[in-house]
């Protein structure tokens, strides 16, 4: 009589479970590592040191007169204190010598650059705490590693549309297309 092969004879559900687990491992552990590259800021900037000097966030990250957000400070702003090396941190020395003295702007990596098709204004979000969207930086002695999506070119921290929509919905703000997409 012909022998009938059963599942149990082929290892039962084991191959299926192995395949499942392997896929889960690849998808949740290897894929994120492969999808993002890790970049470090050109200068090890310490927010903590600056916060300890009594500086507030908006001493450097300020709104312009027209209400637009200036983002990161430029050499002119940093040079107000660091026109020359004032401390003993080698990172500061590197900043002064390689950027301030050469009149070259630091190519800082922006953690939360939004796509061009989104019109995001900090001005309209001033009622929110910075840390609702951004990590708290005042205790940060070294800039976080920037994980950049190899496909999109945006960082891991760039807000997704669902995050914007959820916050708008929770705060009773319109989610009409034109609110963000001009």
């Amino acid at each position: 009589m012909e022998e009938k092969k059963t599942s149990s004879q082929s290892g039962g559900a084991l191959p299926f479970i192995l395949g499942l687990l392997a896929a889960l491992a690849v998808g949740w552990w290897m894929f994120p590592k492969a999808l993002f590259s890790e970049s470090h800021q050109p200068i090890r900037f310490s927010h903590k040191v600056h916060a300890e000097q009594g500086m507030a966030c908006d001493d450097c990250h300020k709104m312009r007169d027209d209400g637009s957000y200036a983002g990161l400070p430029n050499n002119e702003k940093c040079g107000e204190c660091h026109s020359d090396v004032v401390g003993s941190d080698p990172a500061e020395k590197k900043f002064v010598e390689e950027y301030i003295q050469k009149s070259k702007e630091v190519p800082w990596i922006i953690y939360q650059n939004q796509p061009d098709n989104v019109y995001f204004t900090h001005s309209a979000h001033q009622a929110q705490e910075c840390t609702e969207c951004h990590p708290k930086m005042t205790d940060n002695d070294s800039p976080p590693v920037a994980r950049i999506n190899k496909i999109t070119g945006y960082t891991e921290r760039t807000l997704k549309m669902w995050q914007c929509e959820r916050c708008h919905a929770e705060n009773g703000v319109s989610n009409a297309c034109y609110v963000c997409h001009k």
Binding site: K5, S7, S10, G11, A13, L14, P15, F16, I17, L18, G19, L20, L21, A22, A23, L24, V26, G27, W28, F31, P32, L35, R64, D66, S68, A70, G71, P115, D116, N117, N149, I151, T152, G153, Y154
Partner: protein, 692 residues
Amino acid sequence: MGLDRRAFVQLAVGGVVGTLFTPIPWKLADDAAIWSQNWPWIAKVTKGEIAFKNAISKFCPSGCAVSVRTVEGAPTLVQGSKDNPLSQGGVCPACAAGAQLLYSPARVKGPMKKTQAGFEPITWDEALTTLSAKLSAVKGKDGKVAMVSGDQTGTTSEVFSAFVAALGSQDFYLMPSEGQVAGKAWSIMGGTGKVGFDLKNADFVLLVGADAFESWGPMVRNKKTFGSKRPVGQPNQATYVYAGPVRNRTAAVCDQYVPVPADSLTAFALGLAAQLVQAGKSIDTADFADFKAMLGNFSADKVEKLSGVKAAVLADLAKKLASAKAPLVIAGSPFGQGEGAATFIAGAAVNLLLGQVNKPGGMKVFADFAPVVKGAATAKKLTEASFADYLSKVEKGKASPEVLLVYEANPAYGLPQAEAMSKVMEKIPFVVSFSTFLDETAQKAQLILPNPHPLERLDDLATPYGYSRAAYLVSLPVIKPVADAKPTPDLILGLAAKLGLDLGFSTYQDVLKAKTEAVGASWGDVSKGKLFASDVTKDVSGLNLATAVLAKAAIPNRDPAYPLALAPLAQLNVGTSALATAPQALVTIRDTELLGNDMFVQVCAETAKANGLSQGAKVKLTSSQGECVARVNVSETVMPGTVAAPLGFGRTAWDKFTRGKGDNLSKVLALSPEPGTNVSVWSDTRVKIAKI
């Protein structure tokens, strides 16, 4: 346990099921969507500080006072300067493209010399050494160097004319313009100073040929004035009438359009003058009696025979002019160039009859700003020198320049009889182009020394023709040159010093500061975009009405071999002779103006029928001097017996967006001397049209 087929399938299914519970498919789909929004050819939005800087843009003949929006210092938008009376927040289509044109593929990237293999990039040192040697060889030799400039309003003309004069030549020219002919005409009438027109205070404006909203005078200001005099939902404060061969963009918005052939505009204006004299108006000039007698040839009936304008229409217009509180007549070319002096004189005579000179809403006369550069040509001299005439002399061997310097002008493309003029230029051994773009003239040059784009250079603007006040404005660079370009006036001042010529200045900034002082303006104000304007008018006693000129020039001379009048259309969205169509303006050109590579000429149904033409037919326009090809669009905007055709197409240089589209109408424009003045005229060009 071996991995048999069944186990393998189970493993694969498990893998697939497992994958569905990981971010892989969902994240990849999302990221792929975002990736597709950022193709490398999609322009990136510059992010950074937004600022607005006032500047002058000279892509249009009169120049626009603009406000440039910059992001992190880079211009992103050119709009009209709201506080400047010349623009009042408006901008012309040519200047509106200024930010994009900074990065035009047609820009000359750096100095180049022509070799047998084409243009070869060279260093500025080599370029200037070559030019210096050429100029040194002709220094002191009369008539061996000539220069032509397309800058109608800048003090560059003083620097260049003084430089050419110091080299021993008097051959400095401006490209043909409406203001040049008006200056010449005013001079014939015995007038001095500059003439402007007070549209703002006029309550009845008759435009005789002058395409005031497209090619005549400060067209942006003219449009703004028109808009302000006709507030929405309120009664009109001014009436506008256009008389000319085509119901063009200006005529389309006027209250009345009177079809008048281009060669009969003078007769039409004299017909109005005859009506006004008949009604008892007069002018206090020594030759008024002669003028009055001459007007006998321009009675309403006679003008009807010459121009086709019904006697009743002429009489009605004269009555409306006479009864208006502040009537104004502006006579000029329907396409911004090529009109004779007689049309201006006839228009001025009507304004004089109406008593509308140096009165609110009338013709204004004010003093020219005095030159500040030692040896510079006077404004009067510049109006008398015609570059087209000069090239005719070169053709006939009456002038033999060895060096021709061309500043921001494109004579090889834009002069009448363009093909012939271009060939004449080939006779000149060494042509130097100071052009921002690789235009048709630059392509013919032996040396190209790129001038910065208007937003990259120090520049000034002194009273654009037609503006009713003596005005002055300075523009500081908005951005450093994107290309390896150097400001031509500074180069010329440097060359002058090298050649031992004393022009009195070493930098163009010093020239402009001196000019500002001479004008009576404040550098701090004018360099920040605040227009200096003076309302001081000039005495106009001692004028004459140039009766002999009018009697000869007003009668059309129609060669029966060329049965149709040509009405060129100057439209700023198509471009100018010195600027090919800007990339974003291409979409504003209708399919009845340009389709594929074919441009269209416009004729009315009556003309089409008489010439056996139908919509879309391919035709050849032939004048006594040249020909061009086009397709036919039947349009009732054109009066019978006239064929309207666009200027600005048929580029052979520039970039892939404009090259080879349509044909160059300037090839067809035929020069003829105006009887009585000898001014070269081409607005009365006649053509024949044939199907091909």
